[in-house]
């Protein structure tokens, strides 16, 4: 960097003599770095980067800060946790388990909760952060979906985002399984059986993953490496890519006066947006600490050590796996058998449904582009009401998984509300197919209503009846028109700016 443009000088209008003195050290340090790697120009660009502001654009940040919290608390936990399935006897301060045989993993988790100062609060913050990491990812995903922010050119970032969601779910489950309490062991057993149900390779996959038949000698140690190293590293790398793409492509914005496809209107990174982001980081940690300190989560000392012959009523996974567990419960007792081979029942609700869920998520931007024939670049977000079909499908999908989740809570619902568990499950079996279409229809009507009230025609981009045709042949018969319009776009944009 050349000397005549000092890194900050002109862009900072305030010049207070008092501060200048304090700055020299900082400046000298900055200069030292700059002489070696340069970067003042880059840094200035970063300071001036513009973020469109809408509160919903910060939801992804929430997920990021939950992840930061997970890394910080998780690192602390690793200093005390011992991922070993070796049998030992507990002699810690929790009297009702003193003298009980257990694995070192469970024992160290107990000691972490009772004998390590600040251990329990860290563990609880970690667990709440995991639940909220997933929750904020899902809310963020919903925001991106309903505003159409996944459209070209952002399909890549959508794919990275869905991958992050998948990794986060896996890592959450791995963490839940590490402690080797009764609940986590039951969860692992179910995961084992689901993997076992995969045709052809199931037996091999489980044997290699668990190091033999369930419970397997190595699974805790392996999950530990996966939980604290492999997946967090993958998440970190993908997060970096996710953020890089946001910077490279610039954030989308809602349409409005002066807000066009070819500009970004918003706040500068420095100082306002940066301050708000840091503030949000602290607020996120604050909410997580409050939950971690005041609301008990996963009281493993109540569940006791894992024993493959035992189980407790109300065994559920954390919420982000709850829909899968619910699908397992809702599925009737069917399976496919032929010639002595079979595709076991859990394969359909667990492997197939999960595969379909994530397959559709990955494919959505491409499916939608194909159906609508819209291959333009989009930097302006949709308002959900302007896309009744997409919004209706999204709401229907959410209701589908919500019902699955309620199915997963069938026994808790039964106990809490005094219902028959069979009645609850039968209700879910029907609701799964009845409620989503109703939700879709209601949402569609609502979008139309709202748009009509706005006086803006909805971009109901496609006739329902045409979808099969479009999926087969790519974009629809009116493709040409769309292209023409696209061509019209740029000339239209040019005078707008002049």
């Amino acid at each position: 960097m050349s000397a005549q443009s000092p890194p900050r000088g002109p862009t900072v209008p305030r010049t207070r003599a008092k501060k200048a003195a304090g700055r020299t050290a900082t400046f000298r340090g900055a200069r030292w770095v700059d002489e070696r790697i340069g970067g003042a120009k880059f840094a200035r660009t970063a300071l001036n980067k513009v973020f469109p502001d809408h509160w919903s654009f910060m939801i992804g940040e929430l997920a990021l800060y939950c992840f930061v919290t997970l890394l910080l608390t998780g690192t602390y936990l690793t200093f005390f946790f011992d991922p070993s399935t070796e049998t030992t006897t507990y002699h810690g301060s929790y009297a009702p388990l003193r003298g009980v045989e257990m694995t070192r993993a469970y024992r160290s988790a107990l000691e972490l909760s009772f004998d390590v100062r600040a251990g329990l609060v860290m563990r609880q913050i970690h667990h709440w952060a995991a639940l909220l990491f997933l929750a904020t990812i899902v809310v963020h995903l919903a925001r991106v979906f309903f505003t159409g922010a996944f459209r070209k050119p952002r399909e890549l970032n959508w794919i990275i985002g869905v991958t992050l969601l998948t990794l986060a779910i896996f890592n959450g489950f791995a963490g839940y399984s590490l402690l080797d309490d009764q609940l986590s062991g039951t969860g692992l057993r179910i995961a084992y059986s689901i993997a076992l149900s995969i045709p052809l390779v199931g037996t091999w996959v489980t044997s290699l993953l668990f190091g033999g038949e369930f419970p397997g000698a190595d699974i805790i140690e392996r999950l530990y490496v996966i939980h604290i190293l492999l997946i967090p590293a993958a998440i970190t790398v993908l997060l970096a890519g996710h953020l890089y793409l946001v910077v490279r492509q610039k954030h989308t914005q809602f349409p409005g006066p002066g807000r066009r496809e070819d500009n970004v209107v918003g706040e500068r990174m420095w100082p306002t947006y940066a301050a708000k982001a840091v503030g949000l980081l602290f607020l996120t940690v604050s909410v997580l600490s409050m939950l971690g300190g005041l609301v008990q989560i996963n009281p493993i000392w109540v569940f006791g050590p894992f024993d493959p012959a035992q189980v407790s009523s109300a065994s559920q996974p954390d919420w982000y796996m709850g829909w899968l567990d619910g699908a397992l419960r809702i599925m009737p007792g069917w399976e496919i058998r032929a010639f002595g081979f079979s595709i076991p029942n859990p394969f359909f609700p667990a492997v197939l449904l999960a595969g379909l869920t994530f397959g559709l998520l990955y494919a959505w931007p491409f499916l939608e582009a194909r159906v609508t024939g819209d291959h333009d670049l989009h930097h302006l977000d949709d308002r959900p009401r302007q896309r009744p079909v997409r919004t209706a499908l999204g709401v229907a999908t959410i209701s589908f998984y919500a019902i699955c989740f309620l199915g997963g809570a069938s026994d808790v619902l039964s106990t809490t509300f005094g219902l028959s568990v069979n009645a609850v499950l039968w209700t879910m079996r029907f609701a799964l197919f009845i409620v989503p279409p109703i939700m879709a229809w209601a949402t569609y009507r609502l979008c139309k209503e709202l748009s009509a009230r706005d006086g803006v025609p909805t971009a109901s981009q496609v006739d329902w009846r045409e979808i099969p045709h479009r999926l087969r042949h790519g974009s629809g018969p009116d493709d040409g028109d769309a292209d023409e319009n696209e061509d019209d776009d740029d000339p239209a944009a040019a005078p707008a700016a002049s």
């Binding site: 910060m58 002066g258 189980v311 109300a314 319009n485």
Partner: protein, 296 residues
């Protein structure tokens, strides 16, 4: 017999109302024999119990506890209770499950209909009807919570859940919460297996184990909630509920607060005059035209 049922008089009704079973709607309560009835019960007490029995129980259980049949073959109106024993009778009466107003009702915990003395009398009378399990006195002084926990997790948590909060069974049945159970009631239930509950005899849960188990169940009434608010202690379902209804809501509130501007703010595109704004609108419209394009 020592009654520790005073705490139960709290006016606290279980949420679990009468659930009509899908299978048929017959509540088949059957008390079974384990061990031996106490020898030589006080005859005065027994006589008092007999008069109470003939007043309140006979219509369903018959004069000698043989049960009363309905139109079907089995004892549909009330089951045979000759072998219910002192334990079975004590459990049912002291938890208010008996007497039932309606034989089709699913019994649940309520305030006992009889006072302690009357319960003593009825228990003595029912015990004299056959060879049911006796009441076990439990002295919790030397009990080991750790051993009790082992027994509880092996034999009880499957239905009553690890935290003793109860759980759902099939076809409308439910294992009750143990949060209000007194030591005598727990011991009586283990030995007599009321309702759908299996029976655990000496061969499975011996005297010492029973004592430890009872102590552990008492502990579960107020277990260590070192982590804070217990939110039911039934695992991840309430946790997920709190994560969404408290966590997500708070975080979104933060984001909403940060992301909304002060009431007045500078306008975007301030340099753009009215024409440019009009153009911008036209531009947006052109976009939506492109999207609508395929629609005739």
């Amino acid at each position: 017999m020592n009654h520790a049922d005073q705490p139960e008089r709290r006016h606290r009704r279980h949420r679990r109302l009468a659930l009509v079973s899908v299978l048929g709607g017959v509540v088949g309560l059957t008390f079974l024999v384990v061990g031996r009835a106490p020898a030589g019960a006080d005859s005065d007490l027994e006589a008092h119990g007999r008069s109470l029995y003939l007043e309140g129980c006979v219509s369903c259980h018959g004069t000698k506890g043989q049960g009363v049949g309905g139109s079907g073959g089995d004892n549909e109106r009330g089951p045979r209770i000759t072998d219910a024993g002192a334990a079975g009778a004590y459990y049912m009466l002291s938890t208010g499950r008996m007497p039932l107003n309606d034989p089709n009702e699913q019994p649940h915990r309520k305030d006992p209909a009889y006072g302690p003395k009357d319960i003593d009398a009825l228990v003595a009378f029912v015990a004299s009807l056959g060879h049911g399990p006796a009441l076990t006195k439990v002295d919790l002084a030397d009990a080991s919570l750790a051993n009790g926990g082992l027994v509880f997790r092996a034999d009880c948590q499957a239905c009553h859940s690890a935290s003793g909060s109860g759980g759902a069974l099939s076809y409308g049945r439910a294992a009750p919460s143990l949060r209000e159970a007194t030591p005598e009631q727990v011991a009586a239930a283990v030995r007599s297996g009321p309702g759908q509950m299996p029976v655990f005899g000496q061969g499975d849960v011996d005297r010492k184990q029973l004592r430890d188990l009872v102590a552990y169940v008492q502990y579960l009434r107020h277990p260590s909630d070192r982590g804070g608010l217990a939110i039911g202690r039934v695992g991840p379902v309430p946790e997920g509920f709190v994560a969404w209804s408290v966590g997500v809501v708070l975080l979104l509130a933060c984001v909403f607060w940060i992301g909304t501007r002060s009431p007045i703010r500078s306008r975007p595109g301030a340099n753009a005059d009215a024409d440019a704004d009009a153009d911008a609108d036209a531009h947006t419209n052109a976009d939506s035209d492109a999207d609508v394009g395929s629609e005739p």
